[in-house]
Symmetry: C2
Subunit: 144 residues, 2 copies
DNA sequence: ATTACAATTGCAAATGAATTGCATATTGAC
DNA sequence: GTCAATATGCAATTCATTTGCAATTGTAAT
């Protein structure tokens, strides 16, 4: 049912080593090629799909961007019980353990009869690093 | 800079009249055609883009679905200060005024240095109606 | 209403991400 | 090694969306 291949292995190791970054099919293709591997886009797509099914990766799309993004899921990580922060600038996803989660869930159920599915819930915004970068820019602009 | 046209007018009125539903370009094309209007997909796309720019509509994409969805934004509605609930089944978006919002924002800033952008933040899950429907199904299955 | 020009539209062609069919190559169990 | 199952490359295809351009329509001034 499941062979171990050089390609899929490389891809999984790549994502594990860059656990807090996201990548597109194209990115993976380029990195593999740059790493001296010969691979085909179709294979990249097939392997990404596969790793997503196996819950090794998480995939998502956003309104502004045309391509699907993938990010590593730590083994055993339970995305069903915490919220996610996604940086609109760099795409990084932070898995947020939050004490408030129960309060939020209850509030939403009581007020709207809505049951939250944490695994697919994302709060968008700016991460610390990207925020600092944009503040740098502002600073420069003032002195320009 | 901005002419009023029958097409864009129809589209805006359609979304306003179905404020709690979402629709794709294809849906709009079909409804307009069914309504006796002759319109071209390119025009539908151009008008949807335009209405999105004007903040009449909000657009989004999700990982599982290939097409962009649009939903009406009530005029003057400030999506920058409340969270959004999106039903994974029917796509409906609920604008949720929540007292907890400040607490959540503060928590996330303090713990992660992350600044939430409410306008693009979506909690996924099941709305009351869709939940009842799936419970119906379960009931039927038990008695089947 | 006629003119004049900018904005809008239709049509067909182009783009670009993702998928698929099929022949060939690779994998792992024996 | 042999063999069946799985994975891959390649080329062709699909499908949503975009674009160039000529024709049409909307608006305001005459």
């Amino acid at each position: 049912m499941k062979y171990k291949t050089k390609n899929r292995d490389w891809i999984e190791r790549y994502f594990a080593a860059h656990a807090d970054e996201r990548a597109r099919a194209k990115d993976i293709y380029e990195k593999m090629t740059a790493d001296g591997l010969s691979i085909n886009m179709a294979t990249v797509y097939r392997n990404l799909d596969r790793l997503e099914e196996e819950n090794v990766l998480k995939a998502y799309k956003t309104a502004g961007e045309d391509e699907k993004f993938y990010q590593y899921m730590r083994p055993g990580m339970d995305c069903g019980s915490h919220l996610h922060l996604m940086c609109s600038r760099c795409g990084r996803i932070i898995h947020m353990d939050i004490g408030l989660m129960n309060e939020i869930s209850e509030y939403v159920i009581n007020e709207y009869g809505f049951t939250i599915d944490c695994g697919h819930s994302v709060l968008a915004g700016l991460c610390r690093e990207c925020q600092m970068k944009s503040e740098d820019k502002k600073g420069k602009m003032i002195h320009a």
